[in-house]
């Protein structure tokens, strides 16, 4: 271990020797100071805090991300090219220890820089919040400076229900085997419509269960997050309805008339203590518009509640960012293990770009074509190539999804909780799985690399 630490220390020293550390500190603190002066917001303290948090953390992540890749590629590839590695390699230290030492050095460097910059962001946010009027402070405390978890209605077992109805149907009217999939599909759609659609003048009731959380939520604010779609758009773009928050027998329950836009997420405060002794909450919506409204099963309604404080949530979010940076360090080191510095840097940045442009890849996969525009008359060779590329995109997306599933900046800016379980999953998937694969590959290549041969850039 002391050998790995010695290499990590050397990496640190190099970062100071090349003034990288101080340059990054100045850049990171600069962005924390300058960004609030430059950004434009929606005019609310909440909006300003959200955008400040988002942009500062994103800038910090981007700066540290690029510097990590650069440093990781440079520290290994340049050491080899400048023949300094040969001096280290002849010492009683294994190649894997050198590789891991460099990774550890970069990660600890990132941890330090992240702590300095994120600490400044935290301090800035708290300082700015204290200048606000009490009402604004209350909003920030309840909606941004908080870790909120959400509960949704228990998802019904649609497949079982479809099968049950289908069996009853075919008992009454036999259906030919080739028509059975269509009948099943029709039944599914009917059931989904019954569960999701609220016709004019009707009510939809959600029964939610806070479970044991109820013990910690006495007098704590709750928030309803709802999304709906309208069957027919109207000229105003909004639909009238009434929310009934809590069981009407509960004195804390409230009736809330609402004008809701379709195809959008609405978030509003619900009164505290609308749950019963068992932690059950009843929320219903009466559709008073002249068109049917649809609340999707997955995101139609969610009840948000306080799950913890902002401080720990912020720390968990930062740890997730650190995991990303650790992965980038592993990527840079892995590519520098077998490539020269410029090629390794180019290779790493290209991989990063692919990950960042996964939106375009996913669009192509969804459309089912890349360049043909769905034209069936393209040549067979083009068809085969397109199909192969689509399979490649799908594979890349599956991998990228595993890494991109964690978006701490988004969660922090919307006051959503980052749980310890999510953090552990992020560590497992990002650091252990992906970082581990890269480390194994990198160490393998670096161990087998012939350091004494003439290097490419010499």
């Amino acid at each position: 271990m002391s050998r790995i630490l010695a290499i990590a220390q050397l990496t640190w020293k190099a970062a100071f020797r090349f003034r990288l550390f101080w340059v990054l500190v100045i850049l990171l603190l600069g962005c924390v100071v300058v960004l609030p002066l430059l950004i434009k917001h929606d005019g609310t303290a909440r909006g300003f805090t959200q955008i400040l948090l988002t942009y500062t953390l994103m800038t910090i992540t981007a700066l540290l991300g690029f510097s990590t890749l650069w440093l990781a590629c440079g520290t290994l590839a340049r050491d080899i090219e400048d023949c300094q590695m040969q001096v280290v390699a002849v010492k009683p230290i294994a190649r894997w220890q050198i590789w891991l030492g460099k990774w550890l050095g970069i990660t600890v460097l990132n941890l330090t820089l992240l702590a300095i910059s994120a600490g400044s962001v935290y301090g800035l946010l708290q300082w700015r919040a204290r200048q606000l009027p009490p009402e604004q402070q209350r909003i920030l405390r309840n909606e941004i400076f908080v870790a909120r978890a959400g509960i949704k209605e228990r998802a019904p077992d649609i497949d079982r229900y479809v099968e049950q109805v289908f069996q009853e149907r075919i008992k009454q009217t036999p259906v030919a085997p080739e028509e059975q999939p269509q009948v099943r599909q029709a039944i599914r759609e009917q059931i989904m419509a019954r569960l999701q659609v609220v016709p004019p003048g009707f009510q939809r009731v959600w029964n939610l269960d806070l479970g044991l959380h109820k013990n910690f939520l006495r007098d704590e604010p709750l928030y309803v997050r709802a999304k709906l779609f309208a069957a027919k758009t109207n000229i105003s773009g909004t639909y009238q309805g009434t929310w009934y928050l809590g069981d009407p027998r509960n004195p804390a329950s409230r009736i809330l008339p609402a004008s809701l836009a379709g195809d959008t997420v609405h978030e509003f405060a619900a009164p505290a203590n609308i749950f019963d002794e068992q932690g059950r909450v009843m929320i219903s919506f009466e559709n008073q518009s002249d068109t049917a409204l649809l609340f999707p099963l997955d995101e139609g309604l969610e009840l948000l509640y306080r799950d913890g404080g902002f401080g720990f949530n912020f720390v968990r979010g930062l740890l997730m960012i650190l995991f990303w940076l650790a992965l980038l360090a592993a990527l840079g080191l892995a590519s520098a293990s077998f490539l020269s510095f410029p090629v390794a840097a180019f290779f790493s940045f290209t991989l990063l770009m692919i990950v960042l442009s996964s939106g375009s890849l996913s669009m192509s996969v969804q459309d089912g074509y890349i360049y043909s525009g769905g034209d069936p008359s393209i040549s067979p060779a083009s068809k085969v190539l397109e199909s192969a590329l689509l399979s490649l995109f799908k594979g890349i997306l599956e991998l990228v999804k595993l890494v991109q599933a964690f978006s701490p900046v988004d969660a922090l800016s919307t006051g959503r909780s980052i749980t310890w379980t999510q953090l552990a999953r992020a560590f497992g998937q990002v650091v252990i799985l992906f970082g581990g694969v890269m480390a194994l590959g990198g160490i393998f290549l670096f161990t087998r690399r012939e350091l004494a041969t003439a290097q490419g850039t010499q």
Partner: protein, 490 residues
């Protein structure tokens, strides 16, 4: 060759290449802007562009479009997920990357004022986004595109349609907020143009500063617009729609002026339909009533605009005949038969085809009334209701109680009909209670300054309602009852 000589050679080469690149750059820029090649738009930002924008425009070159696309995609994604806090910043970047591309400004402003605003339930949140949309066009877009008619049209439309009409459930909040802001800027209900042009007190200077710097309005142009199209009720949004359209008419030479003229004549019509503020409700919502005295000026506006327009003068004339048809029955409903007759004559004279069968003015007005009654908006409902109430009070003053009862009953039925009609959107569309309308309209009629009734009739009405001179119905705690049952005339 020595190292020093090499250095000099490199330096000279660098200077020569830089000079050559400068020469080629001009040629390349000419080719890029050539309409025949049509490669790209070169942004002419004028001399007042901030250095960051000028630098970005030049430094990013052709990459500006790509960056704008990426930002646009991010904005769409965030909007789909209900996250709006970045929208102002993203819109700012997107528009600054393509500052002379008018459509980009218009789409971004529209998105904020129309699409994002309605995503919020709280009217204050909606109002904030409507303001952001207006600010983007008024404060930034017009700065770089002072001659773009589309931008003036859109700005005028935001005032006329978004704030002025009742399609948005929060429209009353917008009107209340705007009236409050304008009252603060004018220092009273109406702008004192002389004071605004030449402020003499620190308070006036502060208000003029606010008017010029925040609302980007010029008192001299306001006065000009007020003289030409008014007098306007500047606390209502349509006056501002007319203002910005009038500024557009002055500044634009790009040949798409019909859209701006449309904003002017449509807003002029609205300034007749709700030309006076009766009172403000407790939440600040202005309750308005028609001002039929503005009909003559509005008609002149239609005629002048159609004479000036070279694109679609027939469209403006068509709008004028619709305007005249409506005004005839409004005057008739308000018991102003002589004026109804006058405008009916003009209608027949200018547009004989729209009055087939040579009906009398009364027949025409009643026919229009029955045709329109089903689709009356809230403002037009107020026109008809106040018209019926005018007839009610005039009949009372003339001791024609049976006729008065008929008009009161008709107003009551119409009010009930409207209540039923708006039941699905009661809150945003409701008008004040009928008793409240009666009371405030009576105040208007008893006020000699409004010119709604001659002095003799005011005195008769006061006597009939048992109201001493100088006392308003409000002071009695409700509307005064007729002092005695009038004799029923045959």
């Amino acid at each position: 060759m020595s190292r020093k000589a090499y250095k000099w050679i490199w330096l000279l080469m660098a200077v020569a290449l830089l000079a050559a690149a400068g020469q080629f750059q001009r040629l390349l820029n000419r080719q890029r802007t050539s309409p025949e090649i049509g490669l790209s738009r070169m942004a002419d930002l004028g001399s007042n562009a901030p250095p960051v924008l000028a630098f970005t425009t030049v430094a990013l070159g052709g990459f500006r479009g790509i960056i704008a696309n990426i930002l646009w995609i991010r904005a769409n994604e965030l909007q789909n997920n209900g996250k709006y806090f970045e929208m102002v910043q993203l819109a700012d970047w997107i528009t600054k990357l393509q500052p002379t591309f008018t459509q980009v400004w218009v789409v971004q402003a529209w998105n904020m004022a129309y699409n994002i605003s309605v995503k919020f339930s709280d009217p204050a949140d909606r109002w904030r986004w409507v303001q952001r949309g207006i600010e983007l066009l008024r404060d930034h877009g017009l700065r770089y595109n002072p001659g773009a008619s589309l931008m003036y049209r859109e700005l005028g439309w935001f005032y006329q349609h978004k704030m002025g009409q009742n399609l948005d459930d929060a429209h009353k909040f917008y009107k209340a907020s705007w009236a409050r802001e304008m009252t603060a800027v004018f220092g009273g209900p109406r702008p004192n143009f002389e004071e605004l042009r030449r402020p003499t007190t620190p308070d006036a200077e502060r208000r003029v500063h606010l008017l010029r710097e925040k609302y980007k309005m010029d008192p001299a142009i306001m006065e000009e617009v007020d003289k030409l199209y008014g007098p306007l009720e500047w606390r209502l949004p349509e006056a501002h729609a007319i203002y910005w359209a009038a500024v557009g008419l002055k500044n634009c030479k790009d040949g798409d002026l019909i859209t701006i003229r449309r904003v002017i004549y449509q807003s002029t019509l609205i300034s007749v339909i709700r030309g006076r503020i009766l009172y403000f409700e407790a939440d600040g919502t202005p309750v308005t009533a028609p001002n039929l005295d503005r009909v003559a000026r509005a008609s002149e506006t239609y005629l002048r605009l159609s004479a000036e327009d070279t694109e679609q003068p027939y469209a403006i004339r068509n709008a004028h005949q619709i305007f005249l048809r409506e005004m005839v029955y409004h005057f008739y409903t308000h018991s102003r038969e002589a004026e109804a007759e006058k405008w009916f004559k003009l209608l027949k004279q200018l547009y004989p085809d729209v009055v087939p069968g040579n009906p009398t003015m009364e027949e025409f007005a009643v026919q229009r009334f029955t045709q329109n009654i089903e689709n009356l908006s809230g403002d037009r409902m107020m026109v008809i209701l106040t018209g019926l109430l005018s007839q009610y009070y005039i009949s009372l003053a003339l001791d024609e109680d049976k006729r008065a009862d008929g008009f009161a009953r008709m107003a009551g039925h119409l009010y009930q009909y409207n209540e039923e009609r708006i039941r699905l959107r009661r809150k945003p569309l409701e008008i004040p209670p009928l008793e409240e309308i009666k009371k405030t309209w009576l105040n208007q009629m008893l006020n000699p300054n409004t010119g709604l009734l001659p002095m003799e009739m005011i005195v008769r009405l006061r006597t009939r309602l048992n109201l001493p001179a100088g006392q308003t119905p409000n002071e009695t705690g409700g509307e005064a009852k007729p002092s005695a049952t009038a004799e029923v005339k045959p």
